[in-house]
């Protein structure tokens, strides 16, 4: 069996999601190759070559891959796919964006967001916002799969490195262009990689009030998350959103503050190791998944918690 993992990176560093995806590939078993497609990305190819459990790196470097536009990246991966039995990418906005194009080009029904490998062609994946888990068997000869990163450990890095081979560029479709990114700069840990997350909901009432969430997060060295309601209300930017359609997280400690616990939010955080909920409504569904619940006024409880840790 040969498996291609498409690496997520920013042309400087490999992203942690790639390491989780390699672990999923290793669980399938076989020769794992990592594709690094980017622009001026040789440092990424070098890092990739040190991921444990892989047998080679394919590096394709060209300005057309600088912003990972789905059209060109999809065609590139489809062109490299021949000879591979599996094509894997992380189920992040990076992987979700281009991998279905690859599946369509290969005439394959993609399996999205797998949480476990049950066999060579059988996988588990959540459906209906995680209300149910489906065991799905793929009958396609090639399997095209996105991987839920929180469901697989990170593959470690080693000191030795595997061969890096250059791959061929595929002509650009030239039908899409990058304008700009607005990426929030923060000293806090990245939400999907954080050990501790403090999340706020609509009960915070304003972006000004959200500062008490940030103060607690900073005291704990935590990332800051939010419910959809808090993002929709404009208290925090979209990249804070935890849930079915936002980020899927599974930290050691998740503190949900003023979050009622709609199923769409629970879908994004219920695999956290320890969940703490603070809410003034004792009937809030968040308490059904919380290990520790406190009914109370968050504007009193949160500053007190910040002072006590």
């Amino acid at each position: 069996m040969s498996i291609l993992v498409v690496a997520e990176h920013d042309n400087n560093e490999i992203k942690g999601s790639t390491l989780n995806t390699v672990t999923a590939a290793s669980e399938i078993g076989g020769d794992v190759s990592v594709l690094v497609a980017g622009s001026e990305s040789s440092s990424v190819a070098e890092q990739a070559s040190k991921i444990a459990g892989i047998s080679s790196v394919i590096h394709v470097d060209d300005p057309i891959y600088k912003n990972f536009l789905a059209e060109d990246l999809g065609n590139l991966v489809a062109s490299i796919a021949e000879g591979f039995n599996y094509i894997l990418a992380p189920a992040t906005t990076f992987g979700k964006n281009f991998l279905p194009r690859v599946a369509a080009k290969l005439d394959v029904q993609q399996i999205s967001d797998i949480i476990s490998v049950e066999g060579a062609d059988t996988f588990k994946r959540p459906i209906y916002a995680g209300s149910c888990i489906a065991t799905v068997k793929s009958n396609d000869s090639v399997k095209v799969i996105t991987v839920r990163t929180t469901a697989f450990d990170s593959s470690p890095m080693t000191d030795s490195s595997v061969t890096v081979n250059s791959g061929d560029v595929v002509d650009s479709l030239n039908n899409s262009s990058f304008v700009n990114d607005e990426i929030a700069e923060s000293d806090r840990p990245e939400l999907t990689a954080a050990d501790v997350i403090v999340s706020g909901g609509r009960a915070l009432g304003s972006s000004e009030n959200f500062k008490i969430i940030e103060a607690l997060a900073d005291k704990l060295g935590a990332a800051v998350g939010a419910s959809r309601a808090a993002v929709d209300a404009g208290y925090v930017p979209n990249d804070y959103q935890v849930g079915q359609t936002g980020k899927i997280v599974a930290p050691t400690l998740y503190i949900a503050i003023g979050i009622s616990g709609a199923i769409q939010h629970l879908a994004g955080m219920k695999d956290s190791k320890v969940i703490v909920a603070i809410n003034k409504d004792e009937d809030a569904p968040i308490f059904q998944v919380a290990d520790y619940g406190l009914v109370g006024d968050l504007f009193e409880a949160v500053p007190e918690l910040t002072d006590s840790v």
Partner: protein, 250 residues
């Protein structure tokens, strides 16, 4: 500019879905069905483009059984001009749906195709991207803002790190994220009017494409449940438990 909006009939987002007792699939007996919320956002965006004079016609299409006419009528009540039902036997997979939509696009020739980024039943997040690849069209997924500028669509996308803006040549595919707009409610007069709008039916079996399933569902189960936790009475007690019982803070 003509806009095509593919939509899907799904279980209403308020319904808690459970497996069938034999775990062969999910139990969809007697549950409320609705237009997929992301598809409603797509319809709303298309209707707004028409209302602002940038689009001339909004056509909604769905691939599904006869009962999907109900969701098409709902979209017509939201302001779409006409509807197409591509009638299929049973539910199709995203790959097959994209193939059917390719045929509809070839006959309708829209300048813009807007879809929801995912349907809340299978949570696959595939159809728009697959359709784009099959048509060799550019795509702008997870849109939170859409502007038409000449022959381009300038789209702000919600990505993991924040926001990204790209420009795609028309015709193009756009998939909607939650914050693109807030869909309106259909008024009673519009619901009545929608009953008179054109709804044409095509048979998927007449399109000459293979829509057979490529995957099989072996079982559907409830996810593992978390053990019931404890309620604490004070922050002091919470901190004590986090330190000494859960050992997650020091």
């Amino acid at each position: 500019m003509k806009i095509l909006v593919p939509v899907k009939r799904v279980v209403d987002y308020n319904v808690k879905v459970r497996p069938l007792s034999d775990n062969s699939n999910v139990d969809l007996n007697n549950v409320k069905m609705s237009v997929n919320p992301f598809c409603e956002i797509a319809v709303e965006e298309a209707v707004r483009l028409k209302e602002s004079g940038q689009a001339t016609e909004v056509v909604v299409v769905t691939v599904g059984g006869d009962e999907s006419q109900e969701q098409l009528r709902a979209c017509l009540a939201l302001g779409a001009d006409r509807a197409i039902l591509a009638q299929s036997e049973g539910l199709l997979e995203p790959l097959a749906i994209a193939k059917v939509l390719t045929k509809i696009v070839e006959s309708e020739n829209p300048n813009l195709i807007i879809l929801g980024k995912q349907a809340i039943d299978g949570d696959n997040n595939q159809t728009g991207q697959m359709l784009a690849a099959m048509l060799d069209m550019p795509q702008a997924t997870f849109a939170s803002e859409l502007k038409i500028e000449g022959d381009n669509a300038v789209v702000t996308r919600e990505i993991d790190g924040g926001l990204q803006t790209i420009s795609v040549n028309l015709p193009a595919i756009v998939t909607t994220d939650l914050r693109l707009n807030e869909p309106r409610y259909a008024s009673l007069p519009n619901i009545m009017q929608a009953k008179k709008k054109d709804l044409s039916i095509q048979n998927v079996s007449d399109l000459g494409i293979d829509v057979s399933d490529r995957t099989s569902i072996l079982s559907v189960e409830l996810p593992p449940t978390r053990e019931a936790g404890v309620m604490v009475d004070s922050i002091e007690e919470l901190v004590e438990k986090l330190k000494n019982e859960a050992k997650v803070i020091t």
